[in-house]
């Protein structure tokens, strides 16, 4: 009985913390995550092709390539392609800057904000090749993993994703 109450209580607490980390403006919600919360999403093993892009609203080449990821997400929405845009904006600008930006751009892809200052720890966990410059993108699928510290053009991104679709 006590156990059940405790379990219920901790469930409520964890739900509350989860809700607290979701920020919404005009119905657009973006979750703030620590690296430990985020990391499993870099290692999903199923039949989906994952495109995980690290970006920020203040990073000009990142902003330039956002439409490329949006196009990919839209173009392959009936196939198993999932785009995840990981914002490295300052966490205190999530509501004032990131959400309005996402709204303005009409972005459809999922966006999360990675709020974890100890980047020396987690950069190599994303990829040993990553120097820390953005934009940077990880593309992975069953039997494939690629890391790209560069700005993508559509043709180039398609040339990586297309062969993985078969």
């Amino acid at each position: 009985m006590t156990k059940k109450i405790l379990l219920g209580f901790s469930l409520v607490v964890s739900l509350l913390t989860m809700i607290n980390k979701v920020y919404a403006v005009d119905g657009r919600a973006i979750r703030k995550v620590s690296f430990d919360e985020f990391e499993p999403r870099l290692h999903l093993e199923n039949d989906t092709i994952y495109v995980v892009n690290f970006w920020a609203t203040w990073c000009a080449p990142c902003v330039r390539e956002i439409p490329v990821f949006e196009t990919i997400q839209e173009q392959y929405k009936d196939q198993k392609v999932k785009v995840l845009l990981v914002s490295l904006d300052f966490p205190n600008q999530l509501e004032s800057r990131v959400i309005p930006f996402v709204d303005r751009m009409g972005m459809k892809s999922e966006v999360v904000l990675l709020d974890d200052t100890d980047s020396n720890r987690w950069i190599p966990l994303v990829s040993e090749e990553w120097t820390g410059a953005i934009p940077a993108t990880v593309i992975f699928a069953r039997g494939f993993r690629g890391f790209y510290e560069q700005e993508f053009h559509l043709e180039e991104l398609e040339s990586i994703i297309k062969p993985l679709l078969n």
Binding site: A56, W58, P61, D118, S119, N120, G132, A133, I134
Partner: protein, 199 residues
């Protein structure tokens, strides 16, 4: 034919080394770059320096802006101990207009930089060092007549809030050199703005 392929091989290796830039232990080359005051700065202008805190920086990057006060504090503390800061803007202003020489002068004035803030016009120094982002630190130490790379990486482990820093990577590395020890760690990574090049 064989000679040609060996030549090509050497050329390839040279190119590979070139893009990779310096690693810890490498000898760092001097430069002669224009400071915001119009004068040219070289490391050979500082015969008494025990080393240098070379920071690839710029005007526009929010991560740089978050670190500017800490860069000033580092210079104020360590220039007197033989390790002055030299900040280099290596961004191509044609790609990133906010990183022009004129706006460097403006930023240096606003912040009152006590250290040289020099412009790597034409990106001649950038490929030697192999910096990829701003801020990107190369701590150099004088060994005999040479300057050797002692530490590469971040200033500390919290770009958001200087008061929440747990590891002062750069300051610890300089303290280690002052004590005649090796920096530990001697390489760290951090998120930063890509150094803008013409594609």
């Amino acid at each position: 034919m064989k000679r040609a392929s060996i030549f090509l091989g050497i050329l390839f290796l040279a190119a590979a080394g070139f893009t990779q830039g310096y690693q810890v232990g490498d000898v760092a080359g001097d430069f002669r770059l224009k400071n915001v005051d119009g004068k040219y700065v070289s490391m050979s202008d500082y015969p008494d320096a025990k080393g240098f805190i070379v920071i690839f920086s710029c005007n526009h990057c929010p991560y740089v802006v978050a670190y500017e006060d800490r860069m000033i504090a580092l210079h104020q503390e360590y220039a007197a101990k033989g390790f002055p800061v030299i900040a280099i803007n290596a961004n191509d202003p044609e790609v990133q207009p906010q990183d022009s020489y004129e706006l460097m002068q403006e930023r240096a004035r606003e912040k009152g930089f006590p250290f040289p803030y020099v412009f790597d016009e034409g990106q001649k120094v950038l490929p030697l060092y192999g910096a990829t982002r701003t801020p990107h630190v190369f701590l150099l130490e004088r060994v005999g007549d040479e300057l050797k790379v002692a530490y590469i990486g971040a200033i500390d482990d919290n770009y958001q809030d200087a008061s929440q820093v747990k590891e002062k990577y750069l300051a610890n590395a300089i303290e280690a050199l002052i004590k005649g020890k090796r920096p530990e760690p001697d390489f760290t990574r951090a998120i930063g703005c890509t150094i803008k090049k013409k594609s």
